[in-house]
């Protein structure tokens, strides 16, 4: 009820010009129609010639139906026949033909009213879609020649200064040059905790300024700003055609002609054989023509995906395609990368153990070699030991994927990596006593010791896993290049069923492919990861999910879904959203078809009237739209 109120209120306030024109047309036609009826009832009688009666109703008919007739004629000339205009024109002319002059006008009037309702409903759903898709304002307050001017954000150049007042959204990416404030970045990350920024800090478009006015130097123009990029991803996502949409499109192509053929059959052929009243059967046929519009179906399916993807974007989850929403509900296997996905990925050195050398020397070697890698562990070591001076004359540094690094220092080979790397060179290592990731270091052929790195499990990871299980995920697997002890500990703490450790990047992808082969026909596999080495797994899974904050560009690029704030809790949210969306879309399809089928049957049986037929057309459409808008409210993140 609230929703329909919303529509009627919006409909009156924001009624567009052509809608007002349409309304005027309906009113004029209705007045002419009432006048015609009164004249008919008072001045005319049974013996009045049909043509006089026709002339009496013609003005009302033409006012209401001129456009329909014109469009129908246009279409016939261009060779395309089966559309609403044609159907309505036939229905109207058909009614005149059987002498039902008032019916003819009523058909057109009802059709116009229905069209107007439909238009307002569509307009309303378009604006909710726009609202969901628009992350940043279209205008910016730019400082030009010492004065603040409000201009289209597209026309602001890089390097210009813009002012963002309290309560406003930042339109373009940039750096704060004046003022400090707190930002609500939830549109980008889904994280509602405010972020404090001051001079020199970079800010992203779509953030909301919550406290004080700030001046921002624009670093990225409109087309390159974060909000625009996200918006584009979302728009491209909804432009894709999912399976059910293809089904509906196909259905609509056959449905309309089929109903028209049946309508022609019952209005012309049936009375010929049954000898019944011609006009009665034509009226029934006309009702079928009205029912034959498939708009409720054609509109509600894409709208459902729009609302769903838009709502996800508002919650900090980017879904890159409709088909992802479609298959997420069938997810039954969830595979995770460990670092950055299940754990925070902010590594800390928890223990240093040196052998055959001093601790300081071990640190120096570690810093010298690890600075060649981008691996989070390498970064952690470099940050932690930034006081130790690196050797400059290190050469031939190479990264051995999944194992570690090798380099040459003063003619001696340096190794830094896992147990496997050193053992493959014939060097025995000392096993660390605590769980964690050990980076073993050797110089020449001599073992120097290890640096133990440990990571924390993300908050809520265990809850997210149990939530996933309640949503029908039968199997949870964690893949890691890390050692078995650490993997086992983390799996146990989070409730993950299976932990596969000491995997090389290609082995991760192989395991994912293996799991893909084992699963049932309608089961889907979700892989969630963040690193470069996760990209192959993200690609080969049914649904690849990347972490947006810690994720590498390539992982984000190939993923079907990006979780902007890296929270693993977004995964159950996604599955829930998919289930709701698909349920509502199915409801719409079933209910629309049911309404049409029932009224179709009633019309043939002669138990229906034009009101019901119009309801089957426009009513079904409005019901479907209102039902679809419910997706916005559903499934708040726990």
């Amino acid at each position: 009820m609230i929703l329909s109120y919303e529509i009627s209120r919006k409909g009156l306030n924001e009624m567009k010009k052509h809608q007002k024109k349409e309304l005027l047309k309906i009113i004029v036609s209705a007045i002419l129609f009432v006048a015609a009826i009164i004249t008919d009832k008072t001045a005319l009688n049974e013996s009045t010639h049909f043509l006089i009666r026709l002339a009496l109703y013609m003005p009302a008919y033409l006012v209401a139906g001129f456009e329909v007739l014109k469009n129908a004629a246009c279409n016939i000339i261009h060779g395309s026949v089966f559309d609403e205009n044609f159907l309505m024109a036939i229905a109207g002319i058909g009614a005149f033909f059987v002498g039902e002059c008032p019916e003819a006008v009523i058909i057109m009037l009802f059709y116009d009213v229905g069209e107007l309702f439909q238009d307002v409903a569509v307009e309303n759903s378009r604006s909710s879609v726009k609202e969901l898709l628009t992350l940043a304002p279209e205008t910016a307050n730019v400082i030009r020649d010492g004065a603040i001017e409000t201009v289209n954000a597209r026309n602001v150049k890089q390097g210009e200064l813009i002012v963002v007042k309290a309560g406003e959204k930042i339109p373009l990416d940039g750096t704060v040059t004046q003022g400090n404030t707190a930002l609500d970045m939830s549109a980008l990350t889904g994280e509602s905790l405010p972020v404090n920024v001051c001079e020199g800090k970079s800010v992203l478009s779509a953030s909301i300024n919550m406290q004080n006015a700030i001046t921002v130097k624009v670093e990225k123009e409109y087309k390159d700003s974060t909000a625009t990029l996200i918006q584009q991803t979302v728009e491209n996502a909804v432009a894709q055609k999912p399976k059910v949409d293809k089904f509906i499109t196909k259905f609509a192509r056959y449905y309309t002609p089929a109903v028209v053929i049946i309508a022609v059959f019952i209005s012309l052929i049936v009375p010929l054989f049954s000898g019944n009243n011609f006009s009665e059967w034509i009226y029934r046929g006309l009702m079928l023509l009205v029912i034959s519009c498939p708009c409720a179906l054609v509109i509600s399916v894409p709208l459902g995906f729009f609302i769903s993807i838009g709502a996800a974007a508002k919650n900090g989850v980017l879904i890159k395609g409709c088909s992802t929403v479609e298959i997420l509900k069938n997810a039954s296997i969830a595979v995770f990368d460990k670092t950055g996905t299940i754990t925070k990925g902010n590594f800390k050195v928890s223990e240093i153990y040196s052998e055959n050398t001093t601790e300081e020397e071990l640190k120096r070697i570690a810093v010298s070699i690890e600075k060649f890698s981008n691996h989070p562990i390498a970064k952690a070591i470099c940050t932690e030991f930034c006081d130790s001076k690196a050797y400059d004359d290190l050469s031939d540094a190479e990264e051995i994927a999944g194992k570690g690094l090798a380099a040459v220092l003063n003619g001696e080979k340096i190794l830094a990596g896992n147990k496997g790397l050193l053992e493959s060179c014939g060097i025995d290592v000392t096993a660390p006593s605590a769980p964690g990731t050990a980076v073993h270091i050797a110089r020449g052929d001599v073992y120097c010791g290890y640096i133990l790195i440990s990571d924390e499990i993300k908050n809520g990871a265990a809850d997210a896993i149990s939530d996933l299980k309640s949503l029908g995920i039968k199997k949870t697997v964690m893949l890691t290049g890390d050692n078995a002890a650490t993997a086992k500990t983390i799996a146990l703490k989070t409730g993950i069923d299976q932990a596969e450790s000491q995997l090389l990047p290609n082995q991760k992808a192989e395991l994912v492919s293996e799991l893909m082969n084992q699963k049932g026909k309608n089961e889907k596999l979700i892989f969630t990861g963040d690193g470069i080495n996760d990209a192959p797994s993200i690609t080969s899974a049914d649904i690849g999910v990347a972490m947006g904050k810690s994720g590498t560009d390539i992982a984000i690029e190939v993923a079907d879904v990006v979780i902007m704030d890296d929270k693993i809790q977004k995964l159950p949210y996604l599955i829930r959203l998919s289930k709701t969306t698909m349920r509502i879309i199915t409801e719409n399809i079933v209910v629309s078809l049911l309404i049409k089928a029932v009224i179709f049957a009633l019309s043939i049986a002669g138990k229906s009237n034009m009101w019901f037929a119009i309801f089957a057309d426009v009513g079904a459409l409005i019901l479907a739209i209102l039902n679809t808008l419910r997706i916005r409210k559903a499934d708040k993140i726990k």
Binding site: C74, E84, V122, S125, A239, I299, P302
Partner: protein
Amino acid sequence: MITVYKVKNIDCANCAKKLERAIQKLPEVKSANLVFMTEKLVVESDINEELDDVLRKEIRRVMPIVEIERIS
């Protein structure tokens, strides 16, 4: 070459589908996608400047009330 248009006066989802099919059939057009909800038409084609006229001509033929305006 991908061109995006804003589509005006398209008020029925089924008509949008029909117009989309008609545009897809044009020999100059490699692919076309008309999104009813955002009122956007995305066309992939080898021609650029002349594309507007080609599309407008086809639209006049199939659905004269529809108008398009190039965005990018």
